[in-house]
């Protein structure tokens, strides 16, 4: 059997139409989800702000300006600690794999190759936070004590 007759006999048109539709449905749905993913993540990362906004709406304590300033300060601090914690977690794994002492350019190069976000800024924060300390011989060490105490902070 050949030609249209064969296609109809095996329900070819139906299979092809449904097949194309399913492929499109799967990929369109996936593209819709991932097009909104970064927005959802942004909301998640800024959750403190939104929670505080909600609190502010229902709170009656203290003058508005004072509350706003306090909230802003708290948010900035929480955000900074969260970002340091995240970076320190990633760099702790990296440095363990590299071994100590390590060179900063090498650390940044590996971090970049692994796609870690803003490695220069992250390393700068870790140095400021005394998580990465110089060994006085041109290389650097990982401050395990500081890392452990940071990890325990809520």
């Amino acid at each position: 059997m050949t030609g249209i007759e064969a296609i109809l006999h095996h329900n070819g048109f139906g299979m092809a139409a449904v097949g194309v539709t399913i492929v499109f449905t799967a990929l369109v749905t996936l593209s819709l989800i991932i097009s909104q993913l970064h927005k959802l993540l942004l909301v998640w990362e800024e959750r403190e702000t939104y929670i505080n906004k909600a609190r502010r709406m229902f709170s009656l304590l203290g003058p508005k300006e004072v509350r706003r300033a306090k909230n802003g300060e708290k948010q900035a601090k929480a955000k900074y600690i969260a970002s340091i914690k995240e970076s320190s977690r990633q760099f702790n794994i990296l440095i363990q794999a590299m071994g100590e002492p390590f060179s900063l350019p090498e650390l940044i190069r590996i971090a970049e190759s692994l796609g870690i976000e803003s490695p220069y800024a992250a390393v700068a924060h870790l140095i400021e936070g005394d998580l990465i300390i110089p060994d006085q011989k041109g290389f650097y060490l990982w401050n395990h004590e500081a890392y452990n105490s940071l990890s325990k902070r809520s």
Binding site: I7, A16, A26, L37, L41, E117
Partner: protein, 375 residues
């Protein structure tokens, strides 16, 4: 003297016929194209050498031929016939692939979906030519331009066609730089080829980490039969993005994929014994495979042009050709054709988005065909 003649009658020289010589020629051509012309050498060299191995006529009963159940080659071929190697290759591909451009511009994923139209149109064409539905599905998947997917589906639906379909799929993948450019030039104007793409946004590490999890759940819930391929593709990608599993990702993208590629290429080549391979069906498969590949390319290009009717920020329709999942060759061809018009227009990064979505699309397409035919 009698012993000598008896021995001689069992040698390859006595057992070979003209068809073996033709296949040896094809095997050598593959090796030549791989080494001298640099066309997909990692695939064509093992396949070409496998063709040489498969076309050394052997005395039956000694367990030498790939089709004899007690032969070494037969055990190695088990990974092909049971569909084990293709998912492992997908894991390696996942561990190599950066989905950033796709995450930055998800609309380009539609081009990967559009190119899969070629699979289903060729499926209809093969049915019309008298192929059984399971064979037609295996032939259609060649249009996905994805060797492992084609082998996987054929292993599930039409084992006897693995040789010709694998050779056709890999040949066309190797010939992407030859097949695609004329179609691309024919279906686009110069003005369209000059369109520049805007810079993609920066994608966060967290997005890249979440993507494989969302993608595997969504795609495999939609088309469960795509699970072996997409499951391992996204596992490989998660290993890559997780940082903490860098060692596993490194293994997946180097030793695992390299070992499997050697075994798959060599055994697929060896399965093309002249008496199995040189048939009228194989010729039909090669012709339909080429048509499938061309339709897939054209469908991607035309869909990109249709999208441009609705988009404010136009996309370069050449990107549509990268919807076929020959990664990264079709993306490279897009870059090449784009630069031929304007050598400051860099399309490679943008073309990777439809290219990797083509991989996902063809695996979903294969899963759908598998469930239609078997279900």
């Amino acid at each position: 003297m009698e012993m000598f003649l008896d021995f001689f009658s069992n040698t390859g020289f006595a057992l070979a016929d003209y068809r073996n010589l033709i296949m040896l020629g094809i095997g050598m051509l593959f090796i030549y194209l791989g080494i001298a012309k640099d066309y997909e050498p990692l695939l064509l060299v093992p396949i070409g050498f496998g063709i040489l191995l498969g076309n050394i006529p052997v005395f039956k009963g000694l367990g030498l031929s790939i089709y004899e159940s007690n032969s070494v080659l037969h055990y190695l071929y088990y990974g092909v016939t049971q569909g084990i190697y293709p998912p492992l290759i997908f894991m390696g591909i996942g561990a190599m692939t950066d989905f950033s451009t796709l995450l930055a511009r998800p609309v380009l994923m539609l081009l990967g979906a559009a190119a899969q139209t070629g699979i289903f149109l060729t499926f209809l064409g093969a049915l019309a030519l008298g192929f059984a539905p399971n064979e037609a599905a295996s032939i259609g998947i060649i249009g996905g331009a994805d060797g492992p997917t084609a082998i996987f589906l054929t292993a599930k639906l039409a084992k006897e066609l693995i040789g010709p379909i694998a050779v056709a799929a890999y040949s066309y993948m190797a010939l992407v730089p030859v097949i695609q450019p004329p179609i691309m030039r024919l279906l686009t104007t110069r003005k369209e080829r000059l369109i520049r793409m805007e810079e993609p946004r920066q994608v966060s590490k967290r997005e890249k980490l979440i993507f494989p999890i969302i993608a595997v759940l969504l795609c495999c819930y939609t088309a469960p039969a795509a699970l072996p391929l997409l499951g391992l593709l996204f596992l490989g990608n998660l290993l890559k993005e997780a940082v903490v599993t860098e060692r596993l990702a490194q293994a997946a993208r180097t030793s695992v994929i390299d070992t499997v590629t050697i075994l798959l290429g060599m055994t697929v080549g060896a399965s093309t014994q002249a008496n199995v391979f040189l048939t009228s069906k194989s010729i039909g498969i090669f012709v339909l495979g080429a048509i499938s590949f061309c339709i897939a390319t054209a469908a991607g290009l035309l869909f990109a042009k249709i999208m441009n009717l609705f988009l404010k920020q136009k996309i370069n329709p050449l990107l549509g050709a990268a919807g076929v999942s020959a990664v990264p060759d079709s993306a490279r061809v897009v870059q090449m054709v784009g630069r031929a018009e304007d050598d400051t227009n860099f399309l490679l990064m943008h073309a990777m988005a439809p290219n990797v979505s083509g991989v996902i699309g063809s695996a979903v397409g294969a899963g759908i065909l598998w469930s239609f035919i078997v279900g």
